[in-house]
Symmetry: C2
Subunit: 179 residues, 2 copies
Protein backbone atom coordinates (compact mmCIF):
# COMPACT_ATOMS: atom_id res chain seq x y z
CA UNK A 1 0.00 0.00 0.00
CA UNK A 2 1.49 3.32 -1.05
CA UNK A 3 1.85 5.99 1.58
CA UNK A 4 0.71 9.63 1.32
CA UNK A 5 1.88 12.26 3.82
CA UNK A 6 -0.50 15.22 4.03
CA UNK A 7 0.38 18.63 5.44
CA UNK A 8 -2.13 20.31 7.73
CA UNK A 9 -2.09 24.14 7.52
CA UNK A 10 -3.49 25.41 4.19
CA UNK A 11 -4.06 21.82 3.03
CA UNK A 12 -6.55 20.54 5.60
CA UNK A 13 -6.96 23.56 7.88
CA UNK A 14 -7.61 27.08 6.66
CA UNK A 15 -5.14 28.82 8.98
CA UNK A 16 -4.70 31.74 6.59
CA UNK A 17 -8.36 32.82 6.87
CA UNK A 18 -8.11 32.80 10.65
CA UNK A 19 -4.84 34.75 10.50
CA UNK A 20 -6.38 37.38 8.21
CA UNK A 21 -9.52 37.64 10.34
CA UNK A 22 -7.54 38.26 13.53
CA UNK A 23 -5.07 40.66 11.97
CA UNK A 24 -7.70 42.69 10.11
CA UNK A 25 -9.94 42.90 13.18
CA UNK A 26 -7.15 44.16 15.46
CA UNK A 27 -5.62 46.59 12.96
CA UNK A 28 -8.66 47.91 11.12
CA UNK A 29 -7.41 46.54 7.81
CA UNK A 30 -9.10 44.58 5.04
CA UNK A 31 -6.36 42.39 3.60
CA UNK A 32 -7.85 39.63 1.43
CA UNK A 33 -6.49 36.36 0.09
CA UNK A 34 -6.57 37.84 -3.41
CA UNK A 35 -3.97 40.43 -2.35
CA UNK A 36 -1.62 37.66 -1.29
CA UNK A 37 -1.01 36.27 -4.78
CA UNK A 38 2.61 35.08 -4.75
CA UNK A 39 3.20 36.51 -1.28
CA UNK A 40 3.21 35.48 2.34
CA UNK A 41 1.16 37.57 4.76
CA UNK A 42 4.49 38.81 6.14
CA UNK A 43 5.24 40.37 2.75
CA UNK A 44 2.21 42.69 2.80
CA UNK A 45 2.27 43.65 6.49
CA UNK A 46 4.73 46.32 7.58
CA UNK A 47 7.81 45.04 9.37
CA UNK A 48 6.94 46.69 12.69
CA UNK A 49 3.86 44.45 12.87
CA UNK A 50 5.60 41.14 12.11
CA UNK A 51 5.96 40.40 15.79
CA UNK A 52 2.19 40.65 16.15
CA UNK A 53 1.63 38.33 13.19
CA UNK A 54 3.80 35.75 14.94
CA UNK A 55 1.93 36.35 18.16
CA UNK A 56 -1.36 35.13 16.69
CA UNK A 57 0.25 31.80 15.80
CA UNK A 58 1.69 31.42 19.28
CA UNK A 59 -1.62 32.05 21.04
CA UNK A 60 -3.19 29.03 22.75
CA UNK A 61 -6.43 29.05 20.77
CA UNK A 62 -5.30 29.90 17.23
CA UNK A 63 -5.17 26.31 15.95
CA UNK A 64 -8.14 25.11 18.02
CA UNK A 65 -11.00 26.01 15.75
CA UNK A 66 -9.76 26.51 12.17
CA UNK A 67 -12.15 25.99 9.23
CA UNK A 68 -11.72 22.72 7.33
CA UNK A 69 -10.71 23.06 3.68
CA UNK A 70 -13.39 22.17 1.15
CA UNK A 71 -13.79 18.47 0.27
CA UNK A 72 -10.77 17.43 2.34
CA UNK A 73 -12.73 15.18 4.70
CA UNK A 74 -14.60 13.31 2.01
CA UNK A 75 -11.62 12.84 -0.31
CA UNK A 76 -9.19 11.89 2.44
CA UNK A 77 -11.62 9.30 3.73
CA UNK A 78 -11.82 7.76 0.24
CA UNK A 79 -8.04 7.85 -0.14
CA UNK A 80 -7.59 6.13 3.21
CA UNK A 81 -9.21 3.02 1.74
CA UNK A 82 -6.49 2.72 -0.90
CA UNK A 83 -3.46 4.40 0.63
CA UNK A 84 -1.74 4.63 4.00
CA UNK A 85 -2.35 8.24 5.13
CA UNK A 86 -0.10 10.16 7.50
CA UNK A 87 -0.71 13.75 8.60
CA UNK A 88 2.61 15.59 8.81
CA UNK A 89 2.61 19.05 10.31
CA UNK A 90 5.56 21.30 11.00
CA UNK A 91 4.53 22.14 14.56
CA UNK A 92 7.91 22.76 16.19
CA UNK A 93 7.94 26.53 15.64
CA UNK A 94 4.78 26.84 17.74
CA UNK A 95 4.83 24.33 20.60
CA UNK A 96 1.50 25.70 21.88
CA UNK A 97 -0.10 24.29 18.75
CA UNK A 98 0.51 20.61 19.62
CA UNK A 99 -2.61 20.11 21.75
CA UNK A 100 -4.99 22.15 19.56
CA UNK A 101 -3.75 20.45 16.39
CA UNK A 102 -4.15 17.02 17.93
CA UNK A 103 -7.72 17.79 19.03
CA UNK A 104 -8.59 19.38 15.67
CA UNK A 105 -7.47 16.26 13.78
CA UNK A 106 -9.38 13.95 16.13
CA UNK A 107 -12.50 16.06 15.65
CA UNK A 108 -12.45 16.56 11.89
CA UNK A 109 -10.59 13.47 10.63
CA UNK A 110 -11.65 10.75 13.10
CA UNK A 111 -10.93 8.01 10.53
CA UNK A 112 -7.18 8.69 10.70
CA UNK A 113 -5.63 7.10 13.80
CA UNK A 114 -3.40 9.31 15.98
CA UNK A 115 -0.54 6.85 15.38
CA UNK A 116 -0.47 8.38 11.89
CA UNK A 117 0.04 11.98 13.05
CA UNK A 118 3.57 13.32 12.75
CA UNK A 119 4.53 16.59 14.40
CA UNK A 120 7.89 17.51 13.01
CA UNK A 121 9.96 20.43 11.79
CA UNK A 122 12.07 19.09 8.96
CA UNK A 123 9.86 17.03 6.64
CA UNK A 124 12.82 15.29 5.05
CA UNK A 125 12.43 12.80 7.93
CA UNK A 126 9.25 11.43 6.30
CA UNK A 127 9.37 8.11 4.54
CA UNK A 128 6.41 8.33 2.17
CA UNK A 129 5.67 7.95 -1.52
CA UNK A 130 3.90 11.32 -1.78
CA UNK A 131 3.82 14.56 0.19
CA UNK A 132 0.92 16.98 -0.36
CA UNK A 133 2.06 20.36 0.94
CA UNK A 134 1.62 24.06 0.22
CA UNK A 135 5.24 24.90 1.09
CA UNK A 136 7.61 24.17 -1.77
CA UNK A 137 10.79 24.03 0.32
CA UNK A 138 9.58 20.84 2.04
CA UNK A 139 10.00 19.01 -1.29
CA UNK A 140 13.66 19.88 -1.63
CA UNK A 141 14.94 17.01 0.52
CA UNK A 142 11.82 14.82 0.39
CA UNK A 143 12.55 11.48 -1.28
CA UNK A 144 9.07 10.79 -2.68
CA UNK A 145 6.95 12.84 -5.09
CA UNK A 146 5.94 16.31 -3.93
CA UNK A 147 2.47 17.62 -4.79
CA UNK A 148 2.02 21.35 -4.32
CA UNK A 149 -1.35 22.35 -2.91
CA UNK A 150 -2.25 25.76 -4.26
CA UNK A 151 -2.17 28.60 -1.74
CA UNK A 152 -1.78 32.33 -2.37
CA UNK A 153 1.89 32.39 -1.33
CA UNK A 154 2.90 29.65 -3.81
CA UNK A 155 0.93 31.01 -6.80
CA UNK A 156 4.07 31.84 -8.78
CA UNK A 157 5.90 28.57 -8.29
CA UNK A 158 6.27 26.41 -11.38
CA UNK A 159 7.92 23.13 -12.29
CA UNK A 160 6.12 21.00 -9.73
CA UNK A 161 2.95 18.92 -9.81
CA UNK A 162 0.25 21.29 -8.57
CA UNK A 163 -3.30 20.65 -7.36
CA UNK A 164 -5.84 23.42 -6.82
CA UNK A 165 -8.00 21.57 -4.31
CA UNK A 166 -9.13 18.21 -2.98
CA UNK A 167 -11.18 17.29 -6.05
CA UNK A 168 -7.97 17.41 -8.09
CA UNK A 169 -6.24 15.24 -5.50
CA UNK A 170 -9.09 12.76 -5.82
CA UNK A 171 -8.66 12.63 -9.61
CA UNK A 172 -4.92 12.13 -9.33
CA UNK A 173 -4.96 9.36 -6.72
CA UNK A 174 -8.30 7.73 -7.55
CA UNK A 175 -8.78 7.73 -11.33
CA UNK A 176 -12.29 6.94 -12.55
CA UNK A 177 -13.19 3.33 -11.91
CA UNK A 178 -11.06 3.04 -8.83
CA UNK A 179 -12.89 5.31 -6.39
Amino acid sequence: MKRIAVDMDEVLADALSEHLTRYNRDHGELITKAQLHGKWLWDVVSADRHERLEGYLRSEDFFEDLPVLADSQEVLQKLSEHYEIFIATAAMEFPNSFGPKYRWLRRHFPFIPPTNYVFCGDKSILLADYLIDDTFRHFERFRGKGILFTAPHNAEITGVHRVAGWREIEKFFLPVGRA
Copy 2:
Protein backbone atom coordinates in the same frame (compact mmCIF):
# COMPACT_ATOMS: atom_id res chain seq x y z
CA MET B 1 25.84 12.61 6.35
CA LYS B 2 24.13 9.54 7.80
CA ARG B 3 21.05 10.07 9.90
CA ILE B 4 20.35 8.59 13.34
CA ALA B 5 16.86 8.68 14.87
CA VAL B 6 16.93 8.45 18.66
CA ASP B 7 13.98 7.46 20.83
CA MET B 8 13.34 9.46 23.99
CA ASP B 9 11.79 7.41 26.82
CA GLU B 10 14.26 4.88 28.29
CA VAL B 11 16.94 6.00 25.81
CA LEU B 12 17.40 9.67 26.75
CA ALA B 13 14.88 10.10 29.57
CA ASP B 14 14.52 7.74 32.49
CA ALA B 15 10.73 7.56 32.48
CA LEU B 16 10.70 4.13 34.13
CA SER B 17 12.35 5.40 37.34
CA GLU B 18 9.76 8.16 37.60
CA HIS B 19 6.95 5.69 36.96
CA LEU B 20 8.25 3.33 39.67
CA THR B 21 8.72 6.19 42.14
CA ARG B 22 5.16 7.44 41.69
CA TYR B 23 3.56 4.01 41.72
CA ASN B 24 5.52 2.75 44.75
CA ARG B 25 4.85 5.96 46.68
CA ASP B 26 1.10 5.84 46.14
CA HIS B 27 0.65 2.11 46.67
CA GLY B 28 3.18 1.35 49.43
CA GLU B 29 5.13 -1.00 47.18
CA LEU B 30 8.85 -1.42 46.49
CA ILE B 31 8.99 -2.62 42.88
CA THR B 32 12.55 -2.27 41.54
CA LYS B 33 13.99 -2.27 38.01
CA ALA B 34 15.65 -5.62 38.80
CA GLN B 35 12.21 -7.22 39.18
CA LEU B 36 11.26 -6.08 35.70
CA HIS B 37 13.73 -8.30 33.85
CA GLY B 38 11.97 -9.28 30.61
CA LYS B 39 8.74 -7.58 31.71
CA TRP B 40 6.84 -4.35 31.37
CA LEU B 41 5.65 -2.66 34.54
CA TRP B 42 2.13 -3.66 33.48
CA ASP B 43 3.15 -7.33 33.78
CA VAL B 44 3.98 -7.10 37.50
CA VAL B 45 1.18 -4.79 38.61
CA SER B 46 -2.25 -6.35 39.13
CA ALA B 47 -4.78 -5.71 36.39
CA ASP B 48 -7.07 -3.62 38.58
CA ARG B 49 -4.29 -1.04 38.90
CA HIS B 50 -3.43 -0.75 35.21
CA GLU B 51 -5.70 2.24 34.84
CA ARG B 52 -3.67 4.02 37.52
CA LEU B 53 -0.39 3.15 35.80
CA GLU B 54 -1.73 4.80 32.66
CA GLY B 55 -2.92 7.76 34.69
CA TYR B 56 0.62 8.67 35.72
CA LEU B 57 1.64 8.92 32.07
CA ARG B 58 -1.32 11.12 31.27
CA SER B 59 -0.65 13.59 34.09
CA GLU B 60 0.56 17.03 33.02
CA ASP B 61 3.87 16.94 34.90
CA PHE B 62 5.06 13.35 34.38
CA PHE B 63 7.37 14.07 31.45
CA GLU B 64 8.41 17.51 32.68
CA ASP B 65 11.29 16.60 34.94
CA LEU B 66 12.59 13.11 34.09
CA PRO B 67 16.20 12.18 34.89
CA VAL B 68 18.59 12.16 31.92
CA LEU B 69 20.16 8.78 31.11
CA ALA B 70 23.87 8.49 31.87
CA ASP B 71 26.29 9.80 29.23
CA SER B 72 23.50 10.55 26.73
CA GLN B 73 24.19 14.29 26.57
CA GLU B 74 27.94 13.99 26.05
CA VAL B 75 27.76 11.16 23.51
CA LEU B 76 24.86 12.64 21.54
CA GLN B 77 26.70 15.95 21.30
CA LYS B 78 29.74 14.15 19.86
CA LEU B 79 27.56 12.17 17.45
CA SER B 80 25.87 15.35 16.26
CA GLU B 81 29.21 16.46 14.78
CA HIS B 82 29.32 13.43 12.49
CA TYR B 83 25.68 12.45 11.99
CA GLU B 84 22.34 14.14 11.46
CA ILE B 85 20.44 13.49 14.70
CA PHE B 86 16.64 13.36 14.98
CA ILE B 87 14.76 12.70 18.21
CA ALA B 88 11.73 10.52 17.50
CA THR B 89 9.26 9.97 20.29
CA ALA B 90 5.98 8.11 20.18
CA ALA B 91 3.99 10.84 21.89
CA MET B 92 0.53 10.30 20.37
CA GLU B 93 -0.77 8.03 23.14
CA PHE B 94 -0.29 10.84 25.64
CA PRO B 95 -1.04 14.21 24.06
CA ASN B 96 -0.38 15.95 27.38
CA SER B 97 3.25 14.98 26.98
CA PHE B 98 3.92 17.17 23.92
CA GLY B 99 4.73 20.36 25.79
CA PRO B 100 6.73 18.75 28.62
CA LYS B 101 8.74 16.66 26.15
CA TYR B 102 9.51 19.68 24.00
CA ARG B 103 10.71 21.69 27.01
CA TRP B 104 12.72 18.74 28.37
CA LEU B 105 14.58 18.34 25.07
CA ARG B 106 15.28 22.07 24.82
CA ARG B 107 16.66 22.07 28.37
CA HIS B 108 18.81 18.94 28.27
CA PHE B 109 19.79 18.70 24.59
CA PRO B 110 20.05 22.34 23.50
CA PHE B 111 22.45 21.43 20.69
CA ILE B 112 19.69 19.58 18.81
CA PRO B 113 17.41 22.03 16.95
CA PRO B 114 13.63 21.63 17.45
CA THR B 115 13.28 21.13 13.69
CA ASN B 116 14.83 17.72 14.38
CA TYR B 117 12.20 16.61 16.92
CA VAL B 118 9.59 14.20 15.62
CA PHE B 119 6.48 13.43 17.67
CA CYS B 120 4.85 10.45 16.05
CA GLY B 121 3.06 7.20 16.79
CA ASP B 122 4.17 4.80 14.08
CA LYS B 123 7.95 5.02 13.67
CA SER B 124 7.85 3.38 10.25
CA ILE B 125 7.33 6.94 8.96
CA LEU B 126 10.98 7.76 9.79
CA LEU B 127 13.49 8.00 6.98
CA ALA B 128 16.79 7.38 8.78
CA ASP B 129 19.79 5.10 8.56
CA TYR B 130 19.60 4.04 12.20
CA LEU B 131 16.97 3.97 14.92
CA ILE B 132 18.10 3.65 18.55
CA ASP B 133 15.07 2.47 20.53
CA ASP B 134 14.20 0.30 23.52
CA THR B 135 10.99 -1.02 21.93
CA PHE B 136 11.66 -3.86 19.53
CA ARG B 137 8.38 -3.60 17.62
CA HIS B 138 9.42 -0.21 16.19
CA PHE B 139 12.09 -2.03 14.16
CA GLU B 140 9.64 -4.29 12.39
CA ARG B 141 8.70 -1.82 9.65
CA PHE B 142 11.71 0.52 10.00
CA ARG B 143 13.80 0.56 6.81
CA GLY B 144 17.18 1.33 8.37
CA LYS B 145 19.16 -0.55 11.00
CA GLY B 146 17.53 -0.93 14.41
CA ILE B 147 19.70 -0.70 17.52
CA LEU B 148 18.05 -1.98 20.69
CA PHE B 149 18.81 0.09 23.77
CA THR B 150 18.77 -2.22 26.77
CA ALA B 151 15.86 -1.74 29.17
CA PRO B 152 14.39 -4.22 31.66
CA HIS B 153 11.40 -5.06 29.44
CA ASN B 154 13.56 -6.04 26.44
CA ALA B 155 16.12 -8.10 28.38
CA GLU B 156 15.08 -11.39 26.76
CA ILE B 157 15.01 -10.20 23.17
CA THR B 158 17.73 -11.66 20.93
CA GLY B 159 18.69 -11.45 17.28
CA VAL B 160 19.10 -7.68 17.16
CA HIS B 161 22.06 -5.34 17.59
CA ARG B 162 21.93 -4.39 21.26
CA VAL B 163 23.66 -1.62 23.22
CA ALA B 164 23.70 -1.45 27.02
CA GLY B 165 24.25 2.28 27.30
CA TRP B 166 25.56 5.42 25.66
CA ARG B 167 29.24 4.45 25.92
CA GLU B 168 28.48 1.45 23.70
CA ILE B 169 26.67 3.72 21.25
CA GLU B 170 29.75 5.93 21.17
CA LYS B 171 31.98 2.95 20.36
CA PHE B 172 29.66 1.77 17.60
CA PHE B 173 29.21 5.11 15.83
CA LEU B 174 32.56 6.74 16.64
CA PRO B 175 35.27 4.10 16.50
CA VAL B 176 38.63 5.11 18.02
CA GLY B 177 40.37 7.71 15.93
CA ARG B 178 37.15 9.27 14.68
CA ALA B 179 35.75 10.82 17.90
